[in-house]
């Protein structure tokens, strides 16, 4: 009679991994707005350290040399500025590699907040908490100079272009909702794949956010140019936000930090330093 025994063993094994509620998140954030955001009162993933997540590879102009911890590049600088507002000095910040897909997985997070050019959308806000926006982003179209679509003067002219985008970006939604090309766009895992497809002439044009477009034309693809920029959403401007666990107790504090950086003009300064001005790219409608 081995079978009942085995079943019993299985049952015991299953009960052995019975649920233990070790998630720190509760449905309602405990921190009220009045809570002081001092370092020792923050609920952190790793005690005494602020853990910030981002994807790898981390691309310019958001990060420099694929190293988020050097404070170079727009998002690295913003992240350190937010950390500074929260009272962490640079040695108390640690970075962890978080793939885009796992940044919004339910369950225990490996970061206090994630910074990865994530656009704030109402749908996404159902799954994670976003900080206040730290950058207003526009979409841009990049094509090889002298190619068929390089001289497009309106979005309508791009209808028949084969467009390349990176998966998971709002650029893809912008292509679908605003440009509405006749052909399905090609969708790539990484930005560099999309760039290579443009080089190989497998796509006529890329759609990326404007700062990336400047970087692509300046450093990644020779003889490429920005055809123009456009707004992916009709009314509200699209913004990047820091990603936190749904119901994160940190949210009010991170929001406060971002607000403070905005009102002090610190964010604008960082933007100026790393992203330059977005002049020179014609607006397409």
């Amino acid at each position: 009679m081995a079978r009942p025994l085995m079943l019993l063993a299985l049952a015991v094994a299953l009960v052995g991994c019975a649920p233990v509620d070790n998630t720190s998140s509760s449905a309602s954030p405990i921190a009220s707005a009045s809570t002081a955001c001092t370092k020792d009162q923050l609920k952190l993933v790793n005690a005494g350290k602020l853990t910030i997540g981002t994807d790898k590879p981390a691309y310019e102009p958001w990060f420099k040399d694929d190293d988020p911890s050097n404070g170079q590049g727009f998002e690295s600088a913003v992240a350190f500025a937010v950390a500074g507002e929260l009272g962490f000095d640079r040695t108390e910040v640690q970075w962890s590699t978080i793939k885009f897909d796992s940044a919004f997985a339910p369950g225990v997070k490996q970061f206090d907040f994630d910074v990865n050019q994530v656009s704030i959308t109402p749908d996404r806000a159902k799954a994670v908490d976003f900080s206040k926006g730290y950058y207003t982003v526009k979409q841009a179209i990049v094509a090889i100079d002298g190619s068929k679509f390089a001289g497009a003067k309106s979005l309508a002219e791009l209808q028949n272009a084969k467009i390349g985008v990176q998966v998971g970006t709002t650029s893809l939604e912008a292509v679908k909702n605003v440009i509405k090309p006749a052909d399905d766009p090609n969708v790539y895992n990484e930005q560099i794949d999309a760039v290579n497809a443009l080089k190989n002439k497998q796509v006529d044009a890329l759609v990326v956010d404007l700062p990336t477009a400047f970087y692509v034309t300046a450093a990644q693809v020779e003889k490429s140019k920005i055809v123009g920029q456009f707004s992916s959403t009709g009314g509200t401007p699209e913004e990047f936000g820091l990603v936190m666990e749904k119901g994160s107790a940190l949210k009010p504090c991170v929001d406060k930090a971002v607000e403070a950086l905005k009102s002090k003009g610190e964010l604008a300064k960082i933007e100026q330093q790393w992203l330059g001005s977005a002049a020179g790219a014609p607006e397409l409608r």
Binding site: A11, V15, P19, D101, F104, A105, V187, N189
Partner: protein, 309 residues
């Protein structure tokens, strides 16, 4: 029937009625009625009760198991969120049309690649079987091909073909992504299938070849009429196994750009931060592969029966 196949006793006991079927009932000829012996009746009763007992034990244990798993999962503290993020009906309905559209591309890739792979695999296996010294380069090439393409992860082959070939900017190189994907899958899987065919060919007993040669058949005819028919029959289950695997690997073609099921699902996941779309893709793949898997089982069982096991 297995252990109880002694013939039952015939009541009429006339000559020509010794070979008796398992079950009673009027026999052709209608002379005399065959009656089961008491022992046989008892035997069948015992067998039936055994079958009933094992079926009920299986049922009960299955129910207990499922109830246990379901209760543990649904009572876990994170279940409501998991349910919302992985098993969300609204999202499922929203993602289904797009993922389904992508899935048609998976099926298309699979159907085109399949016959190509069979051809490549068979040719490479035959090339490796040529023993003539003059053909050594061909044999060496075939060996090199199987070694290389079995050794390189499929996703890398797809990547290198998908981005490498167009980068050459040669005339006549296909630029269509689906075509490139099919080429890559064919190269990768052709190597696996070649090995399957080769093991099938080598499993045919040398006496078969010797017999064929003694009848005056040449190498080619021996292969065509004696060895290959037997070899292919033997390798059908492992071949089908490779094809189940190929069906899933069509998803890897997404890395070079085309919008297939998995990519469509990924796009939905990224825009909603909800994983249900992945579940849609998973279900579609399962629906495609299960029939093939059952068919493989059926063929294997049939082979066993034919061999009289």
């Amino acid at each position: 029937m297995s252990e109880f196949d002694e013939p039952g006793k015939s009541a009429a006991g006339e000559p020509g009625q010794t070979a008796v079927g398992e079950f009673g009932g009027p026999r052709n000829g209608g002379v005399g009625e065959w009656v089961k012996s008491e022992r046989q009746v008892e035997r069948e009763r015992v067998r039936r009760s055994h079958a009933r007992r094992s079926a009920s034990i299986a049922t009960v244990s299955t129910i207990v198991f499922i109830v246990l798993v379901v209760s543990i999962v649904t009572n876990s503290p994170g279940w409501p969120r998991v349910q919302d993020k992985f098993f969300n009906l609204d999202e499922f309905v929203k993602a289904l049309p797009d993922v389904l559209r992508g899935f048609l591309l998976n099926i298309k890739i699979f159907l085109i690649a399949e016959p190509l792979i069979l051809v490549v695999g068979l040719l490479v296996a035959l090339a490796r079987g040529i023993k003539k010294p003059a053909f050594f380069p061909i044999r060496a090439l075939a060996t090199l091909y199987t070694d290389v393409f079995r050794g390189v992860p499929t996703i890398l082959v797809i990547y290198l073909i998908g981005f490498g070939l167009p980068a050459l900017q040669l005339q006549g190189i296909p630029t269509d992504l689906v075509t490139l994907g099919v080429i890559a899958l064919t190269l990768s899987y052709g190597a696996y299938v070649a090995e399957v065919f080769r093991s099938g060919i080598e499993s045919i007993h040398p006496s078969q070849v010797a017999a064929a040669r003694s009848l005056g058949l040449g190498h080619i005819k021996t292969m065509r009429f004696v060895v290959l028919p037997q070899a292919t029959r033997r390798v059908v289950p492992p071949l089908l196994n490779d094809f189940v695997s190929l069906q899933k690997d069509t998803a890897l073609v997404a890395t070079i750009g085309p919008l297939e099921a998995l990519r469509q699902a990924q796009i939905h996941v990224a825009s909603t931060f909800n994983y249900t779309a992945y579940l849609v893709a998973a279900l579609l793949f399962i629906l495609l592969t299960i029939p093939l898997a059952r068919f493989t089982d059926h063929l294997a069982a049939r082979t066993r029966r034919r061999r009289g096991a």
